[in-house]
């Protein structure tokens, strides 16, 4: 794994706009950098990631069957609904694993089970980048990319259709980034033959006399894909609807297990000898050595503390929540052409339960936050790798 710099495309900003990315300011999209991998490295990352996905799903079953949902910070009023969702095998479309990879060791840092972002960047924008750079001759012929995200997600929608799914409502919050992500997912669903409708999360209607949530045309919402975190939803005034409504959520309610960072402790409990699963505990202070303390639910690296030699801490909106501690895994350090430090995290995308591609974010801090940049990647041809 290497970090290289190369000339950017002259029309890169327009290329991002074409796919609705308007949040590329402040260096978020790194046009003139890329991470390179050998085919062997990618094969190994893929193999390990798939094993981690299988272990995560087994841990979901464990958490539900052993009544551990409360340990994960999932409110009690949802436990039955989460269990029913799992027993029904409510379909999942996607998630993302965040991994630390230093060229040898691979460690699972987190799982983004319900609302993983940077999807368009990973699936579409970095693919356009690869095609454009190949055409411009900026990168070597034969370079490839681990990127079957688009196709993998479309297959998932196709499978959902085969299971009888016909009409899906898509909802997002107020940011253009979230709206674009949902629109992309909706685009894929339509291409897979589903009928769709869109609305904002705050426009979703509730009526105690009706079985389902309600759209703006006063129609039932049997299936709702929303980019709205469950941990936000269960703090909303309509929270009881999560357990009462007949509406099926995509991602499904069982994904609450994978939204909680507490699942890292359960993973360690289930697989204590795994080389990729870091020791983790729901009891602060019980791990030796350097640890990372993070709230059971937090986003963009908020309220994360590294306790030890590489001490660092962030503030945020999640300081009131219970925490999980995880053995600290050092991220590899790379230097930019201006000698600034960068710490990349690998985001492995999963369609259903199958790994399908890679997106990389790098931060100037060891804690990956909302100032991290997205950096495209490529796989070198066999001969030059």
């Amino acid at each position: 794994m290497r970090r290289l710099t190369l000339p950017g495309r002259p029309d890169w900003a327009a290329r991002l706009k074409e796919v609705a990315i308007d949040w590329d300011g402040n260096g978020y999209w790194q046009e003139q950098a890329a991470y390179t991998f050998t085919p062997e490295e990618i094969s190994r990352i893929e193999e390990v990631s798939q094993r981690l996905v299988d272990q995560l799903l087994e841990t979901v079953s464990f958490a539900i069957e052993r009544h551990r949902l409360g340990d994960l910070g999932i409110p009690a009023f949802l436990h039955s609904a989460v269990r029913e969702s799992w027993l029904r095998s409510d379909p999942s479309v996607y998630m993302r694993l965040d991994l630390a990879y230093d060229g040898e060791r691979i460690h699972l840092l987190e799982c983004n089970g319900q609302t993983p972002t940077s999807l368009i960047e990973a699936s579409v924008a970095q693919w356009h980048w690869l095609e454009d750079q190949l055409a411009l001759g900026q990168i070597e012929d034969g370079c490839d990319q681990w990127n079957g995200i688009h196709e993998g997600l479309m297959e998932r929608w196709g499978e959902a259709s085969n299971r009888g799914l016909r009409h899906v409502h898509f909802a997002a919050g107020e940011s253009s980034e979230d709206l674009a992500t949902v629109t992309y997912l909706r685009d894929l669903a339509e291409q897979a033959g589903l009928r769709t409708a869109g609305l904002a999360v705050y426009e979703i209607g509730q009526d105690p006399q009706r079985r389902y949530l309600i759209d703006l045309d006063d129609q039932d919402i049997p299936h709702l894909m929303w980019l709205w975190p469950f941990e936000f939803a269960w703090e909303d005034t309509a929270a009881p609807e999560l357990a009462l409504t007949g509406t099926r959520f995509i991602e499904p309610l069982w994904k609450t297990v994978l939204c909680s960072k507490g699942v890292l402790a359960l993973m360690h409990e289930r697989y204590p000898d795994s080389a990729e699963i870091l020791p983790a505990s729901l009891t602060p202070g019980s791990l030796s050595g350097e640890v990372v303390r993070k709230p059971l639910f937090s986003r963009e690296g908020q309220n994360v503390t590294i306790i030890g030699q590489d001490h660092a801490a962030t503030g945020g909106q999640y300081g009131d929540l219970r925490v999980v501690e995880q053995r600290y895994a050092e991220l590899p350090e790379f230097r930019t052409d201006t000698d600034e430090r960068r710490y990349p995290v690998l985001g492995v995308w999963v369609a259903g339960s199958t790994v399908c591609g890679l997106g990389i974010r790098e931060d100037a801090s060891r804690i990956t936050g909302d100032r991290a940049s997205f950096v495209p990647h490529l796989i070198l041809p066999e001969k030059s790798a």
Binding site: L179, T183, Q206, D207, D217, D218, F232, A238
Partner: protein, 178 residues
């Protein structure tokens, strides 16, 4: 793992145009709408904005309401759902270039708190050559319309539907990341 075909993104490409039109949060007081004495007159005023969903809805007996709007040169319009709820997806109409772009109003649910209704005076903002002065306020229509519209947003007439129960987290403003 290399792709063998290009990516087709019809919906996302369309969204790219509309997302550009996302506007900063609009002061509630900037929105208003016109009232008409006939449905045909109302619909005729918005014929140049075919993308606008249901621009006209029945109001008080003998009246019809046009879409909520604000602006002059670049006018933002919001139509209605079949049940009369003000939509947050609307159209921006440029009166000079005669262009139309879809847009998403961030907080339409709050519009009715003070958005006034004015009587149409033969000119409609953005859709005719003449400039619009807002018409003469019809106080009884404005008061009734504001009340009726507030009711449709909070709950459908004759039902107990509520909206806004989701989507209000204090933990995040804008995108929450993940």
């Amino acid at each position: 793992m290399k792709r063998t075909r290009s990516l087709h993104l019809t919906l996302l490409a369309t969204a790219a145009g509309s997302l550009v039109a996302c506007s900063p949060r609009t002061p509630v007081s900037d929105y208003q709408r016109l009232s008409y004495t006939s449905y045909a007159q109302c619909m005729n005023d918005y014929r140049l904005i075919p993308e606008l969903e249901r621009p006209c809805v029945p109001g008080d007996p003998g009246y019809y309401y046009g879409p909520y709007y604000y602006g002059t040169g670049t006018v933002h319009y919001l139509g209605y759902s079949p049940s009369g709820v003000i939509l947050t997806r609307g159209v921006v109409y440029n009166t000079v270039q005669r262009t139309r772009i879809l847009y998403q109003e961030p907080k339409a649910v709050t519009l009715t708190k003070s958005a006034p209704t004015r009587q149409a005076s033969g000119t409609t903002p953005g859709t005719t050559e003449a400039s619009h002065t807002g018409g003469n306020a019809a106080s009884h229509v404005a008061a009734a319309a504001a009340g009726a519209a507030a009711a449709t947003v909070a709950s459908r007439a004759g039902s107990s539907t509520t909206r806004g129960g989701f989507g209000r987290s204090s933990r995040s403003s804008g995108s929450f990341g993940g």
